[in-house]
Symmetry: C2
Subunit: 260 residues, 2 copies
Amino acid sequence: MVDNAQTGLHGSVLDRLGTMITSGALGAGEVLRIEQLEARFGVSRSVVREAIRVLESMGMVTSRRRVGITVAERARWNLFDPQIIGWRLDGPGRDEQLRSLGELRRGLEPVAAALAARRATPAQCGTLTGAVMDMAVHGRSGDLEAYLVADIRFHRTLLEASGNEMMAALSGVVAAVLAGRTHHHLMPAHPEPVAIRWHMEVAQAVQSGDADAAERAMRDIVDEATRAMLGAGDETKNDEPRNDEPRNDETRSRAPGAGT
Amino acid sequence: MVDNAQTGLHGSVLDRLGTMITSGALGAGEVLRIEQLEARFGVSRSVVREAIRVLESMGMVTSRRRVGITVAERARWNLFDPQIIGWRLDGPGRDEQLRSLGELRRGLEPVAAALAARRATPAQCGTLTGAVMDMAVHGRSGDLEAYLVADIRFHRTLLEASGNEMMAALSGVVAAVLAGRTHHHLMPAHPEPVAIRWHMEVAQAVQSGDADAAERAMRDIVDEATRAMLGAGDETKNDEPRNDEPRNDETRSRAPGAGT
DNA sequence: AGAGCTGAAAAATCAGATCTTTATGCAGGA
DNA sequence: TCCTGCATAAAGATCTGATTTTTCAGCTCT
């Protein structure tokens, strides 16, 4: 689902350990030893150590002499690390992760839109408008994949146009959220026309430099998306959905607007 | 300024390399070789490799056989990594980093306040109110350090009370921003009373569950802070302030409200 | 109980050897 | 001339064994 492609042995070990920790298979406080990990994964010390070092820099484990590798509690993790986000989106924490990201978007994207209204280049304005037009076309034809691509292009461009590096750094994550929504069938077969209209309003407001209008229209977009997602996610307050393609029909029926 | 304390040799190498890259001493595209780094830092391969692995996971370098370690362009970095944020706050990118974080706060904290109004526990409400009272006391007495501690406690508690793990994960960074503001003398000797009043409004709105009021009051707080910081930062659009305690008087004179 | 000592466990580091990938240059052919 | 395929070597990737350093845990002595 997410590009957790890893390079080399150490990357594969990292990926497996990260998945185990985020999924809860390895709980906070559990202690691992290097030798044991060498055996478990059939690799040498150096490979294990490099993977552990990365996990340590993510705050997921701590390494102490005479003790071993201790899995850290979630409050210590760098939850903005794209790798961790990817692992969680793939595992049991998916719903919780999507909720967190949704709330985050509700705060950030309107501000990004306002900033973009002041800073976007003409080229970026063009890209935004073009993306909206593509969304309209593919939304009508019902080509959800093409719609998704245009939607991602819109949001990525907007975040980049905000002129804020950190917001731009989130574009990959936002793309993952949008893709997750589509691929988990939380989108209706034909996106709400009102969503496309709001996207167009954002694009026009950015082009005309109207920060307030851009912020407002973007807030409409994300509020609608948040509402749809919260409605769909309320029945699973805990972290144990486990199954990967669950309750499509109920979910879809409760997420009618899902307009990005 | 920020706790970039590192454990062991690999941590020190990581810290030095990270600082060099974020400061621009090592520009994007530059190629390093492991052997050269061993010699430069006087450590063995394993230490260098572990540091490189961490930098790689941060997106700051890429490692390719037959080529070497290539410094990546900033657009590829994980700008939310606390370590990178710390390096940038300590180096020439400080102003840019503070601007990014300020804009981020403007989006996130109001939403966090709204969420906290729905989710905060009674204990958290108490902590919020207590923090505001401390702010008022120390603001009047002019004890900026104690004021800062209370201010940080307020914002950390609010982000945690949002019930959103990712926002809570940013509390350390927000604390660093607030501390940076105080320690770089961007605060007036006596904080604006209106700022303290806004904090109190947030605390009360959270306690009474009024999400809209909480969001609005928090937006006031952050807007004021953003305005003050943008005003103070405009004269240095580029990334080269270098000196650590610069232009206190001019800056202070242009950041009158600086109310968190 | 509490302070200090001691042994051993486990990570941290170093160093040498070997494996794997791949940029690059050369040779041959179209 | 330009492309294609092969050989070569450079540099990271991995494995391994030895050594060092830290520090937990148990013991002793007060």
